[in-house]
């Protein structure tokens, strides 16, 4: 008895000590942003904005009164807390952005995607349907008339300035180098390249007409474009909050960002400007040193043109510095850089002013808290949210379904593990959860190849690898049967597949485990000889050697120069597929005379080896997941000019097809589908990657959730929220 007492006392004492050291709650309210980065003048303005937000109603203190009854909890397996694009691209950060209208269809973008993924004009943000006219130079100008009752979550009015600022802000030269963001701005608009490169000081593609009217002009190089409306989509930037001392100035030549009238330049501005000039001068000097160093290392002559350009830049910067010292300078660039840094260092983690159905409260301890935005006008379907608070919280994904059944969380989305899906179904049958939704993934797990070097540069080698694996094994063992095998770059949730899926599948090669077929493909590749580079490789000998002693198999294929066929694959250690591929491919490949090795490592290393392969790379195959993207435009991934062409595809046929696909007239649906089919046939034959499995995701919801229906890969809880409620 005495021992029991001591034990319980000690337990209580320890936990009490821990608790005492925890102290009180210190959730940082959304408005407590640091203002130092944004300059002194900005500090005052921002302080007033913060005060208004507090008066506007909900603060972190209010939020602390959350109860199970008024808060929807969405469990996720990761969350980075980057609430603007251009940094880490976590899918769950995107969910938070969608709740706040920073991304997605619930904000005040000019064009948004509806539930089917089709771009439509936003009847909430716009007073009337936008009007587009073709220009003589081939570009297309669209005029947007904004609704006059739009406000941000802090109550400030949304005007054309905010939309024009939205297009200009990230399009400026140096935006990426100052912030480190990968966002490039409004690249589809006319005059973008000249503006981005600093050749013009106005962006021709966007103009403010009046306080509630503005126009954008899509560059002719992007037209025609099948998803043309996607190119016209633009959203407002809360400019009064992010850059309170800057505004936009438009004329016939376009728009630029200028200092607000009445802004007085402070001594601090001047000092900062001079410091910025000094830094740039130092950078230019460093460039000259680097150039000389490079020439010395590579034993080539110094590029005098580049040196002259750097010296010219230094001279210009020194002139600007001298002028600034005498009090003559334009602080626009300085204030713009401050605004960029504020956006990058503060707003990114603490988006205090937004436009969507929910507004930011805090991000702490792997948890994003949001509360209803009472200034929200509604979504394009005329709905408004009813659930007072939303939390996105990181939980252990291995017990996600149990947490849902237990009522710890309300939504658990995109479950792909077969065992856990069965568990979810059972819980639904037993009434422990409200139910679940299922849909096919807009992407797949794949084996991606580098197509311009190493053995995988040959189409026949890639095809042979596809014939050396049993992809149904991945579906069963990895996804527990909740996946499908595809033979092209498509998913059953895509509208194209719904229209033409059956047609196209009948025309595609279905790659299944077939050693004979693999040998046939390899016989058509340069690797068709024995070690001497002359004697034709004999599949029967390979089979015999394999049957005799598979562990010490030594009958490989060689090319005419005696180079052995060896494919090395790099896979992420976190991926079960790496193990499954390692169990299948090395052994099966021996029977076709191919040495196939699988190396596991971290994903960062994988990306380095994929994106920056050496001339003779050690790895030319990589297993990884791929998403299709919206709008669907494979030009980016597979055209030789595509920005995202990691497979290094260089095929004129592909260049033609992807170009024709994207430039199909928006009214020519059948023409687009014909091109889509043609692309799938090319993909299936060329195999820049082998699609391994495409999951059937299952998303469950707790018994108290209502209205969680009709979700798709592109329409999750964060988009469905206006239709959801808690019992």
């Amino acid at each position: 008895m005495k021992t029991k007492k001591i034990f319980s006392s000690v337990m209580a004492l320890g936990l009490a000590m821990t608790l005492a050291s925890c102290g009180g709650g210190d959730d940082k309210p959304a408005d407590s942003k640091s203002t130092e980065d944004n300059g002194s003048a900005v500090t005052e303005d921002n302080t007033s904005t913060a005060a208004e937000t507090t008066e506007g109603g909900d603060t972190a203190e209010d939020f602390e009164a959350v109860t199970d009854d008024n808060t929807l909890v969405i469990g996720v397996d990761s969350l980075n807390g980057d609430f603007i694009q251009g940094y880490r691209n976590d899918a769950h950060d995107v969910k938070a952005r969608e709740f706040m209208g920073i991304e997605g269809s619930l904000g005040y973008g000019t064009y948004i995607r509806n539930r089917d993924g089709v771009y439509i004009w936003n009847p909430v943000a716009l007073k009337e349907e936008p009007k587009s006219v073709k220009n003589d130079d081939g570009s297309e100008t669209t005029t947007f008339k904004l609704a006059e009752d739009l406000v941000f979550s802090d109550g400030s009015k949304i005007t054309a300035d905010d939309y024009v600022m939205g297009a200009l802000f990230e399009s400026y030269p140096n935006y990426a180098t100052v912030t480190g963001s990968s966002n490039i701005g409004a690249d589809t608009l006319k005059g973008y390249n000249d503006f981005k490169e600093g050749k013009t000081d106005r962006f021709a593609g966007v103009k403010k007409i009046d306080d509630y009217t503005f126009e954008t002009t899509v560059d002719k190089s992007f037209l025609p474009y099948y998803d043309a409306d996607a190119l016209k989509a633009t959203g407002p930037l809360p400019s009064a909050y992010i850059c309170p001392n800057l505004t936009v100035d438009s004329n016939d030549e376009g728009s630029k960002i200028v200092v607000k009238e009445g802004y007085e330049v402070t001594d601090e501005d001047k000092d900062n400007y001079i410091k910025a000039m000094d830094t740039q001068i130092e950078n230019e000097k460093q460039n000259i040193e680097d150039e000389k160093e490079y020439a010395k290392e590579e034993e080539v002559s110094v590029d005098q043109d580049a040196i002259s350009e750097y010296e010219e830049n230094i001279k210009n910067l020194e002139d600007k510095k001298a002028k600034a010292e005498s009090g003559d300078f334009d602080p626009t660039q300085l204030l713009l850089e401050q605004a960029w840094l504020f956006y990058d260092n503060d707003y990114r983690f603490n988006p205090a002013v937004t436009e969507g159905p929910y507004k930011f409260v805090s991000y702490k301890n792997n948890m994003a808290k949001m509360t209803i935005n009472d200034k929200y006008k509604g979504d394009f379907e005329g709905k408004k949210p009813t659930i007072p608070n939303v939390i996105i919280q990181v939980v252990n994904p291995k017990i996600g379904v149990e947490l849902l059944s237990n009522g710890d969380i309300d939504i658990w989305e995109d479950e792909a593990d077969g065992g856990r899906i069965d568990q979810m179904k059972k819980a639904a049958d037993e009434g422990k959860i409200g139910g679940f939704e299922t849909y096919d993934r807009d992407g797949y797990g794949s084996l991606k190849f580098i197509c311009d070097r190493g053995p995988t540069q040959y189409k026949e080698v890639r095809q042979a690898i596809a014939f050396l694996m049993d992809r149904n094994d991945f579906v069963q063992n990895f996804a527990g049967g909740y996946a499908v095998v595809t033979n092209g770059m498509y998913g059953s949730s895509q509208w194209m597949y719904k229209e033409r899926g059956a047609d196209v599948e009948a025309k595609l090669t279905n790659y299944t485990l077939n050693i004979d077929e693999a040998n046939k493909r390899l016989d058509a590749s340069p690797y068709k000889f024995e070690k001497d580079g002359k004697t034709p490789f004999d599949p029967a000998k390979a089979q015999e050697a394999y049957q005799k002693d598979s562990a010490n198999f030594d009958y490989w294929r060689y090319d005419k120069d005696g180079k052995q066929l060896q494919v090395n694959q790099f896979g992420s250690t976190d991926s079960e597929i790496t193990t499954l591929l390692n169990n299948q491919l090395p052994d099966n490949a021996k029977q076709a005379g191919m040495e196939y090795n699988v190396q596991a490592g971290d994903f960062g290393t994988l990306m380095t080896k994929l994106k920056y392969p050496e001339e003779n790379p050690d790895y030319t195959a990589f297993n990884m997941g791929l998403g299709f993207g919206t709008p669907f435009d494979p030009w980016y991934q597979y055209s030789s000019e595509g920005n995202d062409n990691d497979s290094r595809v260089n095929d004129p046929e592909c260049d033609r097809i992807t170009q024709e696909l994207r430039t199909t007239d928006p009214d020519d649906k059948e023409g687009y589908l014909d091109k889509w089919e043609e692309f799938q046939l090319w993909y299936n034959d060329y195999l820049p990657e082998i699609p391994l499995y495409s999951n059937q995701y299952h998303s469950g919801y707790s018994t108290r959730v209502e209205g969680y229906t009709g979700v798709t890969p592109t329409w999750s809880a964060s988009q469905q929220i206006d239709s959801m409620s808690l019992k």
Binding site: T71, D408, M607, T608, D644
Partner: protein, 321 residues
């Protein structure tokens, strides 16, 4: 003693310098490219030229374009001033990035260390004094289980029993509101998991130490003198048994900061153990360096504290400069 401590601290300087060089070199030998990791992998429409420019600017901004030796001195100089650089994941100061998880880990470990230490001593002493009795045999089996069963399994069992079956405590994550009662409930299961793990080994250690001490001649002498059994156990035996216990306890505390990664992971608890694993995978060198140095410093300082503790618990130990 003060002179001894000062001398030991001075002696630690070259040790820390060597450790810092080793840690820095090892972190640089890690495969992969941290700058590339900072650039989103998909969804960017950047041209190759824009990607190269961004890569160069990030490389320059974070000093990765400098020679390795220069990078070391820059890092060491900054670290001495308390500036651990920027996290490549958050692109904000490492100090800010680690503040919250560090605080959480300390909360978690403080409670479990204290509970496990006190309980281990009580269980160890009683088991040794009543060797072979029910209490001893019961805890021998229980602690054997605690040592043999992996922490993640213990954690999952607790989740199943206390959260899913009994519904008494939250199963996962961090407190949502921040009130004291809620914090207590969220801390309970991870604390219990850590406590079971560390208590299992520590209590066996205490028991064995006490058994050794109780078999010594001076205990027999003390008993023969007619001293009370409590005095014999607590004043004579326990004090002599404390030296190995202090060693073991210090290592337990040090180990908890890194070893709690598994518990943090099972309970989705945001602590530095979990953070270190994530940072290694993300090649976030500055965070890895900061945490590795933290563990290294903790270890060398732990050694020093251990020596001082020896002197405190055992009068035979003299610390001489």
């Amino acid at each position: 003693m003060l002179r001894y401590i000062v001398k030991r601290l001075i002696n630690l300087i070259p040790v820390i310098i060597i450790i810092s060089i080793l840690i820095f070199s090892l972190s640089k030998a890690m495969p992969g490219d941290p700058i590339l990791n900072m650039i989103p992998r998909e969804g960017s429409k950047m041209t190759k030229k824009q990607q190269e420019d961004l890569y160069k600017s990030l490389e320059h901004k974070y000093g990765y374009d400098k020679p390795l030796v220069q990078q070391y001195f820059v890092w060491a100089g900054r670290t001495l001033k308390g500036d651990y650089g920027d996290s490549l994941q958050s692109r904000g100061p490492v100090k800010d990035y680690l503040r919250e998880p560090m605080k959480n880990t300390i909360y978690l470990n403080l409670g479990s260390s204290l509970i496990s230490f006190i309980l281990s001593i009580l269980i160890g002493i009683r088991s040794a004094v009543h060797q072979g009795g029910f209490f001893d045999r019961f805890f021998q089996v229980l602690t054997l289980l605690g040592i043999s069963v992996p922490t993640f399994f213990i954690g999952l069992c607790f989740i199943f029993i206390f959260a899913f079956r009994l519904g008494r405590f939250p199963a996962n994550g961090m407190p949502r509101n921040g009130g004291g009662k809620e914090r207590f409930s969220y801390l309970f299961l991870p604390t219990l998991t850590l406590t079971v793990g560390s208590m299992a080994s520590l209590s066996r250690y205490v028991r064995n130490s006490m058994l050794d001490a109780l078999n010594e001649d001076y205990i027999r002498t003390a008993r023969a003198k007619g001293l009370k059994e409590k005095t014999v156990i607590y004043s004579h035996a326990l004090r002599n048994a404390m030296i190995p216990i202090v060693t073991s306890f210090t290592w337990t505390i040090l180990g908890m900061f890194s070893g709690s990664a598994i518990t943090e992971s099972v309970f989705s608890y945001r602590g530095i153990g979990n953070m270190l694993i994530q940072s290694v995978l993300a090649q976030d060198y500055n965070v890895v360096l900061a945490l590795s140095m933290f563990y290294a410093l903790l270890t060398v300082l732990g050694n020093l504290i251990m020596d001082i503790a020896y002197a405190l618990v055992d009068p035979r130990v003299k610390l001489e400069a």
